[in-house]
């Protein structure tokens, strides 16, 4: 009796539920295609093109400026080249020959020497930490993760002096030297301090981003690996690493651009012959600003590498921006 009364309405309920789901899906599709239609309409396209043009004009102006005669740069705006095109490569040759302890070309190499390890180190360390936070159970895990996460709010400027002091003085508690200091003050040719500094500053965000990505990997895969007898090391190298590639690539772009564009950390933690290209760019204008017209050419020389990196890894970039954004 009860079975029949209970059984009877169920298919109806199922049906109505299904109908509702269908309706929702339909509505979703409708709104999706609506958004799609609106975004690809003529008006939207024109607006996008206008925004893109306005956005690009200053860069374009800078580009034109880099080919103008120094005296023209000093006296008139870049748009005057339309009526009076008098272009030269001298800004580029002068920039390349510019010497300030080292040449611009040497600083370009320095930048690469700084930026490649300073990208690889934090990613390597953060991957291991992220895996541990996501898939290894140990006591105090959450507190530790929150601690690492909250380190993101510490501004670099606050950490400069203590870190510099750690490098030069070390740490001594009583008579016991916990860390003897690196003794690298003014040593030419050593990049150790800036590598360590950039790695330290990058780790909190790197661990956070990679953790959120790795934690979102399906539990089934991890369980399957564990049942097949994979250790944590094997799971990490054979499953997590290949799957986390988009997140690694996107963080690599961020870190690469940040280190490449960095001036503050570089001026504090390197000296003389180790300066990266950003330091040379600030010096291009000269002590009294008399050669500021070289800056536009210098800027374009300096953005070549970031552009290559960006275009090479671009397809990961948008995907990677969402890494960590969807995990609650």
């Amino acid at each position: 009796m009860s079975a029949t009364t209970d059984d009877l309405p169920q298919p109806i309920a199922h049906r109505s539920e299904r109908a509702r789901e269908r309706a929702i899906r339909k509505a979703e599709n409708a709104s999706l295609s609506d958004t799609k239609r609106r975004l690809s309409s003529t008006g939207a396209t024109i607006a996008a093109v206008v925004i893109a043009v306005i956005w690009t004009v200053p860069t374009f102006g800078l580009f034109i400026t880099s080919f103008r005669q120094p005296a023209d740069i000093n006296t008139s705006g870049w748009w005057t080249f339309l009526s009076n095109p008098d272009l030269t490569l001298s800004n580029y040759t002068n920039t390349l020959q510019f010497t300030d302890t080292i040449t611009v070309a040497q600083s370009f190499v320095n930048s690469l020497v700084i930026v490649i390890p300073a990208t690889i180190f934090p990613i390597a360390l953060a991957l291991l930490a992220a895996y541990a936070f996501a898939w290894v159970n140990f006591r105090g895990k959450n507190i530790l993760f929150i601690a690492v996460f909250s380190l993101q709010v510490v501004p670099i400027q606050v950490a400069l002096v203590p870190l510099l002091s750690l490098f030069s003085n070390g740490v001594t508690i009583g008579n016991w030297a916990v860390f003897p200091g690196l003794n690298l003050n003014g040593v030419e040719g050593s990049f150790a301090r800036i590598w360590i500094a950039h790695t330290i500053f990058a780790l909190p965000l790197a661990i956070f981003l990679l953790h959120n990505f790795i934690a979102a990997l399906p539990n089934d895969i991890m369980e399957a690996a564990r049942i097949d007898g994979a250790s944590h090391g094997q799971t990490f190298f054979r499953i997590v690493l290949p799957l986390a590639r988009p997140a690694i690539a996107s963080f690599a772009i961020l870190q690469f651009l940040w280190v490449w564009n960095d001036l503050l950390v570089a001026t504090i933690f390197t000296s003389g012959s180790n300066f990266p290209i950003t330091k040379l760019l600030t010096d291009l204008a000269g002590t009294y600003g008399q050669t500021w017209y070289l800056l536009s050419a210098g800027t374009f020389l300096a953005i070549i590498v970031p552009l290559i990196v960006f275009f090479a890894l671009q397809r990961y970039f948008v995907r990677g921006l969402l890494a960590g954004a969807t995990k609650g």
Partner: protein
């Protein structure tokens, strides 16, 4: 299971070994260059950290290269445009160069206050006492002890102009400040356009050209004693003596008919980069501006109205005369300069310090080709300087009748200096004179 844990343990050991090898590799960098106990680098290498970059850095290196080679010392110069802010970080972090080149006496005094700067050797002290006037010696002396040596110098307060235009308008070099103001009025009446131009924009230091101009007027109108009291904070910005200098400065810089030639109205002074006035002087759209000797470097990339690169000289396209005095008397000069101070007493460091304080180095510096450097060192042979403007500046510095004072802003504590610059910018933007003075004076409360 046992095989597994053994395998795991081996993995962990490998990881530890790799980490250890990495640490050793980093440590390897350190052992390659053993540093001395006092924090400096190896015995024959001396690092100098200073604010001059680019061309000026190359010229500095050229000035000591020969001597360093002869004495078997390697001098590594590191230039940093942000020296004034970064040196504090380096001192606090104990990451010290062997020698620092301080562009402001106030900054040097602050460094001496940290106790990290060592006293000069007797050789250096004798050199400084023999080669520099007491005005200059005072900047490197603290509580009776000498901590550094003056290096190069610059003379501020030159009025740059075009000699040919002055001839056309029937003007000669004015003898007093009031003559200068009336000359500007005459040019304005003739051309109908603003004759004077100025640019205060200089990034985070915006306002300094105005502060220098004001300092020149204070020194010239109120005298050296009031100037010194003002720099120390004993004479307030609201004092009648300083107020009078503001008023004198306003006769030119606050008159919308007199400024800002080639750029716009009075507030456009703030948006004009200080070096950009050179282009307007060169092409004749601005008749006069007040700037230091180093403005000369900016003319090489400008064009005259005829399209040629301007020649600097009394018969050339552009030339300069010292700012005429407000009241007659001893010629008073406001200038700038760099000071070297050592952070350790290594032999090589002290040898370099002694050399930098010597007349040999000063002569070597001014004879570096195309160098814009001059020095207040009395041992400098002015005839070796080929540039006529710099030669006259050296003679001014060396003359026993010259009262030399450092730019007031650079000699004041940093908080006051920043407030001074900001006050000048606000005043140019239209803030009433009394309010601007009070605003700057208020910063002394934070000067510690």
């Amino acid at each position: 299971m046992t095989s597994h844990s053994v395998f795991n343990r081996r993995r962990i050991l490998t990881a530890i070994a790799i980490t250890g090898a990495g640490a050793l590799a980093l440590a390897g960098c350190t052992t390659a260059n053993p540093s001395s106990s006092s924090g400096g680098t190896g015995s024959n290498t001396v690092t100098i950290y200073g604010p001059d970059t680019g061309t000026e850095a190359t010229e500095l290196s050229a000035s000591w290269d020969t001597w360093a080679k002869d004495n078997g010392i390697t001098i590594n110069y590191t230039g940093d445009g942000n020296f004034t802010s970064n040196i504090a970080t380096k001192i606090q972090g104990n990451d010290l160069p062997d020698i620092g080149m301080f562009p402001q006496p106030g900054l040097l005094a602050a460094a001496i206050g940290t106790g990290k700067v060592v006293k000069v050797s007797s050789d250096t002290e004798n050199n400084v006492k023999n080669n520099f006037s007491s005005d200059w010696q005072g900047y490197v002396t603290s509580n009776g002890d000498m901590y550094g040596t003056p290096l190069d110098a610059s003379v501020k307060g030159y009025i740059w102009y075009t000699p040919a235009d002055f001839q056309k308008w029937g003007l000669t070099v004015p003898a007093s400040y009031s003559d200068l103001v009336s000359d500007i009025g005459k040019v304005q009446a003739t051309t109908g356009a603003a004759p004077f131009c100025a640019g205060f924009n200089s990034g985070t230091s915006s306002g300094w050209p105005g502060a220098d101009f004001l300092a020149e007027l204070v020194l010239s109108s109120a005298g050296a004693d009031t100037y010194d009291a003002w720099v120390k904070g004993d004479t307030k910005f609201t004092d009648p003596a300083i107020d009078q200098a503001f008023t004198l400065l306003g006769q030119i810089l606050q008159n919308p008919q007199y400024v800002n030639a080639g750029f716009g109205d009075v507030p456009s002074i703030n948006s004009t980069a200080f070096a950009d006035v050179a282009a307007k002087i060169a092409d004749g759209s601005c008749a006069m501006t007040n700037q230091a000797t180093f403005l000369e470097a900016n003319f090489s990339t400008t064009k005259t109205a005829a399209g040629a690169t301007p020649k600097v000289g009394s018969t050339g396209d552009v030339w300069a005369f010292p700012l005429p005095p407000v009241s007659s008397g001893k010629s008073a000069v406001v200038g700038g300069g760099d000071f070297a101070a050592a952070f350790n007493s290594n032999d090589a460091t002290q040898k370099v310090m002694a050399y930098l304080s010597s007349a040999d180095w000063a002569n070597s510096l001014i004879t570096v080709q195309n160098a814009s450097f001059i020095s207040a060192n009395k041992g400098v042979d002015a005839t070796k300087e080929t540039d006529p403007l710099l030669q006259s500046a050296i003679k001014t510095l060396q003359s026993p009748d010259t009262v030399f004072r450092f730019g007031a802003d650079d000699a004041m504590p940093t908080v006051v200096e920043n407030a001074f610059w900001k006050g000048i910018v606000d005043w140019t933007n239209g803030m009433p004179q009394a309010q601007a003075e009070a605003e700057i004076q208020a910063a002394w409360a934070n000067a510690g």
